[in-house]
Amino acid sequence: MLNFTLRRIFNGIVMMVAVSFLAYFLLYIGAGNVARLILGLEATPESIAELNEQLGLNRPFIEQFLTWASGAIRLDFGDSWSMPETVNEVLFPRLGVTLTIVALTTLVAAIVAIILGTVAAIYGGVIDRLVQFLGLIGFAIPGFLVAFFLVTLFAIQMPIFNAVGYVDFSESPSEWVKSVTLPVAALSLSAIASVAQQVRGSVTDAINMDYVRTLRARGLSFNRVVYKHVLRNAGGPALSILGVQFVGMLGGAILVEQIFAIPGLGPYAVGATSFSDIPAVMGLVVVTALVVIVVNLIIDLLSAALNPKVRLS
């Protein structure tokens, strides 16, 4: 198990380096004349040269990358080009908000999807068809359309929840709940749809396994075999789909946060993109990649804990 964990961590680090290098390379090559991008078309050659000197853009690419990377290793992404603050000062508080919402969404989606998928697999019939239909619709409709619908319906027609803004949990837990309910609902729909379908499929497979009959022949009740044995064996595939959905949710959060005016990575990403703020964009890329890699690592470890065969691979 330790060996497995270390190997996965090593893979994660390699992936992190690869993503950072590729992103840096493509952004700086793609950006072309960065100084002109920042200063605008009217900039004089002198001022461009001055800014290039100031930003270190006239040095060789590898040198620039290493300078950036030596900061990035300590999670220091340097000065922003469009904001007075450093990238860190803006990025990390916002990352916290987004992660709170996405983590909560993952939890909600996992619980709802496991219940729906299992019930559909075991009882079949109308419930099964309903879950399959909802799965299809939930998968197809983009989360931000759900967000529009929820904003219009709840926040404007019957203002139970907050339509805009975010209240920190430490400020007021009840207001926090009000402010995150709609975003979480909008984000979780498609994850629930996909994961529930997967749970349904793998529970159906697991329940028809020979060992289920054998365990029941030893006197264990149907419910006990389902809770303890079937769900554990069905858990692996469902977990990996949840991992894929998590990545999707991080992207979806950008849109949903914009709609609910939540000060997370969404508005940050939009600002960084529209101002071509490369250091801010690099910060965003590295931090999201890090989150995705860590989450995938957690999911790998969880699957290994569930299924002993995974530990061998």
Partner: protein, 589 residues
């Protein structure tokens, strides 16, 4: 080629005659037509602001009303449709080209290309698509064409993986080898045999990818990062969202059209998938259902069981099965009977064989005694009395109390009958704690004793092992230990040696015989092997087509088989291999 073409045409026709198939295709077609025709017919300019009719509601002049600049929403939405669908199509085409070509090369030729492509795929998957898109738009600027081209690259792994795995599977098929031997070059083989296989999955994937591309494209436009001057669905959402308090209806039009198209595409994909899967038999066949007319006529006939006299047989019935009939839904609202009128008795301490070839209904009869028929199966007539209690009407709770402690089960396939996610020890201990009410420590001790008894070397270590870490023969010993662990009165063994190596078979049979003698547990042995029957049984029942043909003491049947089917079974073991020789019943049994 004509063969694969007609197959594809068949699929297309099936999809289009399916209600959700034609409805989804229809919705997409109407949206496309609307995008093309509406701007031509409309008298409004989609980009011309009109300060006198700002935010007007739907009217005869403006079907969908006017937006914040007084522009006609109906015409603007149609123009947006063109742009949104075209840019999304660009992403699909790029993803398709890169993914399919890359997948074909990597899958067909393998080598370094394979490794590099798989690695790049996992790098791409490490970031949310939207984040990568926003990052790239920071340098390429606000151009939707550019963004969708990049998105196409990001989506290409979906095709790559699909084509790659299919090609890997097909590449080593015999018919591809045959094509290569017959002199076709690689390009012809790829074009003819491999693309034919991946075509339908690609259609499904394309519908889904198109739906995702439309969603992402609208999302970016909504964020205000697209082309400022080109109308698009997302840009209209952005405009509408600013007016959400005054005219929420403006949000309805672009939202509806996006939802309609994305849902239609996904439903289309789903319909194609369903129809593809349906090319096989519609209903999963149950053993013995695929019968000829002659066999069916045979099924309907009443069969008189030939019963040999059994003078010395005790009359202390533990299990008495009478007129048992088992049926499954036949998929047309009726019931297909697989076991007919079976009568069978197992006395206390007796070993009874139930013998027949696969599909004869012997396993179905055994499962009905356990109350564990596969999904859909049920006892349609007859009675199963165990120790004076009728089991056919027993509730799930009552049955849970009988299984394990009173009736237990030894399965055929040892590996698939152990839960791969739990250790051997857990799987032995859990039922003992429940059925015998033992504490964890006692149950563990008993499990170790049982494993020692069934001949597992180093039982304490085996307790900690997972099923994939032990051999098939050991797994079967573990299952036998599990079956006897709660001191049952009756063990039902379903082909307990069939899946094992010949040498292990003999050892397992010895073990079963010894255990049976030690505990005087009754044993119902289900098998197709007369050798096994001869070795263990006191009394046997011969089964075919769901009926018992002949029943009697084992020695009598061996020496004096009356039914031609029993005779043919006996002949086949004499020809097939060394017979074990008749079982000599010990005196006083």
């Amino acid at each position: 080629m004509s063969n694969t073409t007609s197959k594809k045409d068949g699929l297309l026709r099936k999809v289009l005659t399916n209600p959700s198939g034609w409805a989804s295709v229809g919705v997409v077609a109407i949206v496309i037509l609307y995008g093309i025709i509406a701007p031509l017919l409309s008298k409004w300019d989609p980009n011309e602001p009109d300060v006198y009719s700002v935010l007007g509601g739907p009217s005869a002049e403006h079907f969908f009303g006017t937006d914040s600049a007084g522009r006609d929403v109906f015409t603007r939405l149609a123009i947006s449709t063109q742009f949104s669908l075209e840019t999304a199509a660009l992403a699909v085409v790029i993803a398709l080209s890169i993914g399919v070509i890359g997948g074909l090369i990597a899958g067909y030729f393998g080598g370094w290309f394979d490794n590099v492509a798989s690695w790049l795929t996992s790098v791409i998957m490490a970031l949310p698509g939207l984040v990568v898109l926003l990052a790239s738009m920071a340098v390429i600027g606000p151009t939707m064409w550019g963004a969708m081209a990049i998105f196409g690259v990001l989506l290409s792994p979906a095709y790559f993986r699909l084509v790659y795995t299919t090609v890997r599977g097909v590449r080593n098929e015999l018919y591809v080898d045959a094509a290569r031997v017959s002199g076709l070059n690689d390009v012809r083989i790829i074009g003819r045999h491999i693309l034919g296989v991946v075509r339908a999955p690609i259609i499904i994937q394309t519908a889904i990818i198109a739906s995702i591309a439309i969603a992402i494209q609208s999302g970016i436009e909504f964020l205000g990062l697209g082309d400022k001057d080109t109308p698009s669905w997302g840009a209209m959402l952005n405009d509408a969202f600013r007016q959400i308090y005054e005219t929420p209806v403006l949000l309805v039009w672009p939202s509806t059209i996006i939802a309609l198209v994305t849902v239609a595409l996904v439903i289309f994909a789903n319909t194609v998938r369903d129809e593809l899967e349906r090319t096989g038999p519609r209903f999963k066949k149950i053993k013995g259902m695929g019968k000829t007319a002659a066999q069916l006529a045979d099924d309907a006939a009443e069969v008189e069981t030939i019963i040999h006299e059994a003078p010395g047989r005790s009359n202390d019935a533990l299990l008495r099965v009478q007129n048992l009939a088992v049926g499954y839904p036949n998929g047309m609202g009726g019931v297909k009977q697989v076991v007919h009128n079976v009568n069978l008795t197992v006395n206390r301490g007796e070993v009874v064989g139930l013998i027949g070839e696969s599909g004869s209904g012997k396993t179905q009869s055994a499962f009905s005694v356990l109350g564990l028929l596969p999904k859909g199966g049920r006892v349609v007539a007859g009675s199963i009395v165990f120790d004076g209690k009728e089991l056919v009407e027993a509730s799930a709770k009552e049955y849970d109390k009988i299984r394990g402690g009173r009736i237990s089960y030894i399965p055929q396939e040892p590996m698939s009958n152990l839960d791969p996610s739990f250790t051997i020890g857990t799987q032995l201990v859990e039922p003992m704690m429940k059925v015998l009410g033992l504490g964890k420590k006692e149950a563990k001790e008993k499990a170790i004793a049982l494993l020692t008894r069934v001949g597992i070397p180093n039982p304490a270590l085996t307790m900690k092992k997972y099923p994939h870490e032990i051999s098939g023969g050991q797994a079967q010993r573990v299952l036998i230990a599990g079956a006897v662990s709660c001191d049952p009165d009756l063990i039902i063994a379903d082909e307990p040696t069939t899946a094992l190596d010949v040498t292990v078979q003999a050892e397992v049979l010895d073990l079963l015989r010894d255990l049976q003698k030690e505990t005087h547990t009754a044993l119902l042995l289900v098998t197709h092997n007369f050798g096994v029957v001869a070795d263990l049984c006191d009394y046997i029942n011969v089964m075919q087509n769901g009926r018992i043909l002949e029943a009697g003491p084992v020695l009598d049947i061996f020496q004096n088989a009356k039914h031609p089917y029993t005779q043919s079974l006996l002949d086949s073991i004499l020809e097939g291999g060394p017979a074990r020789g008749a079982y000599v019943a010990p005196k006083g049994n």
